[in-house]
């Protein structure tokens, strides 16, 4: 009984580690590529105190993504909870989420023809962990929104 539980635990841990690393690598590759492609369109967080640029059109754009931890990250973070210190495994998770959300917003705005995106705001919300309990971010939603102008 105990042996089986430990086996399942180890299996999930290894599965989580390899699949999580694989997805993360692939995701970062895509993020960096797309960021390079869209780098010429600026995103700024100002919009009120600065004078508004000359433009014909303005429109709201929202990009969002729900990104999930893997089992390995979750276990690492739970252990980290007992030890204390920086939760390094979650840093990449949130970094990916924010950049992905920004990219989605930006890509949509660029498809519309935006030459810059103003007053960008970011927000992160934890949505329930595994099997409905709320201990630690099982997954996080990141949204990015701003005004595209052309």
């Amino acid at each position: 009984m105990d042996g089986l539980e430990i086996l399942i635990f180890l299996f999930l841990l290894i599965l989580g580690y390899f699949s999580g690393t694989y997805f993360e690598k692939r995701h970062y590759k895509s993020i960096r590529e797309r960021e390079r492609k869209t780098l010429h369109v600026p995103m700024v967080t100002f919009g009120a105190k600065q004078s508004l640029p000359e433009a014909q059109d303005a429109q709201l754009f929202v990009g969002s993504v729900v990104i999930s931890v893997d089992y390995f990250k979750m276990i690492s973070a739970t252990l980290r909870n007992l030890v204390g210190g920086r939760v390094m495994v979650y840093e990449s998770l949130l970094d990916r989420g924010r950049r992905e959300a920004l990219l989605r917003m930006k890509e949509e705005a660029m498809a519309w023809g935006a030459n810059q995106i103003m007053n960008v705001r970011l927000e992160t919300a934890a949505i329930g962990g595994r099997s409905g309990n709320n201990s630690g971010p099982g997954s996080v939603e990141v949204i990015a929104y701003g005004t595209g102008i052309r």
């Binding site: 599965l15 508004l52 429109q59 929202v62 931890v69 705001r121 329930g128 939603e141 949204i143 701003g146």
Partner: protein
């Protein structure tokens, strides 16, 4: 209806404002999607089903805000902000708010 996160609308001037316009939705988690999500929680990566679910809900909140603004007689909502808060176990409120204005 023009929607922006700016204080105004570029290339236009605000002639009138009608105060706050807001819209919100509360969404519970979807049990079927939740099972998928808990599987995905093991391997990591994006939860596409949840991304879409929350996008739809947020869209609905925006539509409600727009509807309010229309009723007020506005043709634009400026300085829009979004917020998310979990109000109960497994349920989240998504809301959008801004200032309803008339621009020319």
């Amino acid at each position: 209806m023009i929607l922006t996160t700016l204080e105004g609308v570029p290339g236009k001037t605000i002639v009138e404002h009608y105060g706050l316009a807001q819209g919100s939705t509360i969404r519970a988690k979807h049990i079927g999607k939740d099972i998928m999500a808990s599987l995905k929680n093991l391997v990591g990566g994006e939860l596409k089903a949840y991304t879409e679910l929350l996008q739809e809900s947020r869209q609905e909140a925006v539509e409600r805000m727009v509807q309010q603004a229309e009723e007020l007689g506005a043709n634009a909502v400026v300085n829009i902000r979004f917020a998310t808060s979990s109000v109960a176990q497994g349920a989240a409120e998504l809301f959008a708010y801004g200032t309803a204005v008339k621009v020319e």
